[in-house]
């Protein structure tokens, strides 16, 4: 049985726009993060994975708003906190690393200043103490000569180095949860390999829960313990990483893996694209949202919403086939 959850999300619903014209971008998402484990949230653009992350941090800006659900961290529901209490959680209990390190760093503040600011916001310490801590953190994330480099500005750093600075700021208060949203998408593969290794080592050393949001199934395979597959605002499959890649049960997961195999497999397996495109969330199709593109769709799929069903312990898929396949066994 898995360890008690660090962070538990239950039935989260985030909507953009009003009641009549709008889109429920995150539609009833539930999952939990365990200490020392990496959970990958994977899906294609527009599936709601980034909005899920921003909702956990309560960083959704109008016209977006969280409609319902709960996000429990350390026994408290984050969605019920007032804004000042929430500010103490962000950066301290939950560290966040975004895709584009240049826009998430303050261009007018030195590298050391950014980390000192985070530290002093959350912990009572003098400027000198905070600077010493910042130097330690930069050394920990692999920035050479941190004593000199804390005085440099973000534009003096390469993309990979900026991402290291952002990671240093994210872990500065030893958070119990780290959320990394496409942390290496803007980086070259050789730099990506180093940043992934760094995130993995830090998470292991700190025992934090890591939520890794990515569209790249290669990164999922390398990093994840558990995988959540998201499609059109919903989680359609949840499994440990080995099961997900070798025994996927949702047709969308299977199709996604077939696309990657078609592209990356040396044996030149035929390219099998998924026909069509993801639904417009302002007007989602009735029933299962993958049904219009699904090769195994049946009548019931177009009529009835499919919720996550248990395949076996720690493996769930939101597909009617799970039951028919089980009954065949």
């Amino acid at each position: 049985m898995s360890a008690p959850a660090t962070l538990a999300v239950s039935n989260l619903r985030t909507r953009f726009g009003g009641v009549s014209a709008g889109a429920t971008v995150v539609d009833g998402v539930s999952f939990s993060l365990q200490p020392g484990r990496t959970t990958a949230l994977v899906g294609e653009s527009g599936c709601g994975k980034s909005v899920t992350a921003l909702s956990l941090m309560r960083l959704i800006e109008p016209p977006g708003h969280i409609v319902s659900g709960s996000v429990t961290l350390d026994g408290r529901d984050l969605l019920a906190l007032d804004e000042r209490e929430m500010e103490r959680v962000r950066g301290a209990r939950i560290g966040m690393v975004f895709q584009d390190p240049l826009t998430s760093l303050n261009p007018a503040l030195s590298i050391g200043g950014q980390i000192v600011e985070t530290l002093q916001t959350h912990q009572p310490m003098s400027r000198a103490q905070a600077e010493r801590k910042a130097i330690e953190l930069l050394a920990r994330v692999g920035v050479a000569n941190p004593e000199q480099r804390i005085h440099d500005f973000p534009h003096h750093f390469s993309g990979g180095m900026r991402q290291r600075v952002l990671i240093a700021a994210a872990i500065s208060c030893s958070p119990s949860v780290i959320i990394a949203d496409e942390p290496t998408t803007a980086l070259d593969v050789t730099v990506q390999a180093k940043i992934l290794r760094l995130l993995h080592d830090l998470q292991r050393d700190m025992g934090a829960a890591l939520l890794l949001i990515t569209h790249d199934l290669g990164i999922v395979a390398a990093m994840a313990d558990e995988v959540l597959v998201m499609y059109a605002g919903r989680i359609v499959e949840r499994a440990d990483v080995d099961t997900l890649f070798h025994n996927p049960r949702h047709p969308y997961t299977k199709a996604l893996l077939a696309c990657v195999a078609g592209i990356e497999d040396d044996r030149r397996t035929p390219l099998e694209p998924i026909g069509g495109s993801a639904p417009d969330l302002r007007n989602p199709p009735p029933g299962c949202r993958f049904a219009p593109r699904c090769p195994s769709a049946q009548d019931i799929c177009r009529r009835q919403d499919q919720t996550l069903r248990s395949v076996c312990s720690d493996h769930e898929a939101a597909c009617v086939l799970v039951e028919t396949e089980l009954s065949l066994v």
């Binding site: 996604l256 592209i263 694209p273």
Partner: protein
């Protein structure tokens, strides 16, 4: 017929040769400092055979996009030339150059920004014909409609505007525009990099189908070795403005003969947790920043295999196998194959 005995022509019968890139070089002046310049492309040569797909892979800033613009004559090189069917493209001028442009077209990464937002899709697709002074308005329109069908869109989309389409559909429209002059060569500059994996597979399938249909030759520029491996016959690996390795895809990807190629291959995560986890991802020193020390191998500061000659002179591309060359001194040591 005049024909220098160059390495890159050896295994290639003359009639097959479609595109020849010879010693192309381009430097850009850097801002602020007076005399300083960055060699974006430094003496690159390769050929493309009819019906072939050549992949050009490298990390950001390696010069691959500058190279593709030089090939299209969208930039003037400092030295070297590009020939199509043995006709000098780079140094031809005026009408001749315009005629030549029909034979080679390009598709960019960001399809939406490469289409004119104020023109309908049909006008966008037909624009190259108009610029070439070909056909009547009606015949251009008919041709645009036909090509929409060829790239898998509905002909009646012709009077809509680019913003009404998704990224994948815009890329189909850009491909239709590249096809309208019936070119022989298409350069794809990161053409599938911004697309989601399911859409990327659709566009790659289209690109392969079009090649089979029209006998096209492709230069496929990408930072993604996964995609390159899937669709290219040969791969050229670029590092800091130079080709460091070129050869048949299988040879380059399975028996790389340059340490940079090997590092690149090892850094790609494989979508199978049984084959690779994060600890297995290759790590190499440093970033691609700054410029190579003159008179040394550009990769030397980061190379795990550097040894005595590497900072003494720039290694040249030498044959290491059939149609396969690499610019690394390890190969001249008689290093056993597959040890990189």
């Amino acid at each position: 017929m005049r024909l220098p005995a160059c390495w890159w022509k050896q295994s290639c019968p003359l009639s097959d040769l479609l595109l020849q890139v010879e010693s192309l070089a381009k430097a850009f002046r850097t801002r602020g400092t007076k005399a300083a310049s960055v060699k974006a492309v430094a003496s690159v040569s390769f050929t493309l055979r009819r019906g072939e797909t050549l992949g050009l892979v490298g990390e950001s800033g390696c010069g691959k996009s500058t190279l593709s613009r030089l090939i299209l004559s969208l930039l003037d090189p400092d030295a070297g030339k590009v020939s199509i069917d043995e006709i000098d493209f780079t140094n031809s001028s005026g009408r001749a150059k315009r005629e030549m442009r029909r034979r080679i077209q390009i598709v960019f990464q960001d399809a939406l920004s490469s289409l004119n937002p104020r023109m309908t899709v049909g006008t966008n697709i037909a624009e190259p014909m108009k610029l070439q002074g070909m056909g009547s308005a009606a015949s251009r329109r008919a041709e645009a409609q036909r090509l929409l069908g060829v790239v898998g869109l509905r002909p009646e989309y012709e009077d809509r505007y680019p913003h009404e389409f998704s990224g994948g559909q815009c890329q189909r429209i850009a491909i239709a525009r590249a096809l309208i002059l019936k070119p022989e060569i298409i350069v794809f500059d990161e053409a599938v990099s911004a697309l989601d994996v399911s859409i990327r597979a659709q566009i790659l399938r289209l690109i392969l189908d079009l090649q089979a249909m029209f006998g096209l030759s492709y230069v496929f520029v990408s930072h993604d070795l996964g995609v390159i491996k899937r669709i290219c016959d040969r791969v050229a690996v670029m590092y800091m403005g130079q080709l460091v390795e070129i050869g048949p895809t299988d040879a380059v990807c399975h028996e790389p003969r340059h340490p940079y190629t090997a590092a690149l291959l090892r850094a790609i995560p494989i979508a199978d947790p049984r084959r690779m986890r994060v600890a297995g991802l290759g790590q190499i020193e440093g970033d691609t920043v700054g410029e190579a020390k003159p008179g040394s191998c550009a990769f030397e500061p980061r190379c795990p295999r550097r040894f005595e000659p590497c900072d003494k002179a720039v290694p040249a591309l030498v044959d290491v196998g059939p149609g396969h060359s690499a610019a690394c001194y390890l190969n001249s040591l008689g290093t056993p194959r597959g040890t990189l």
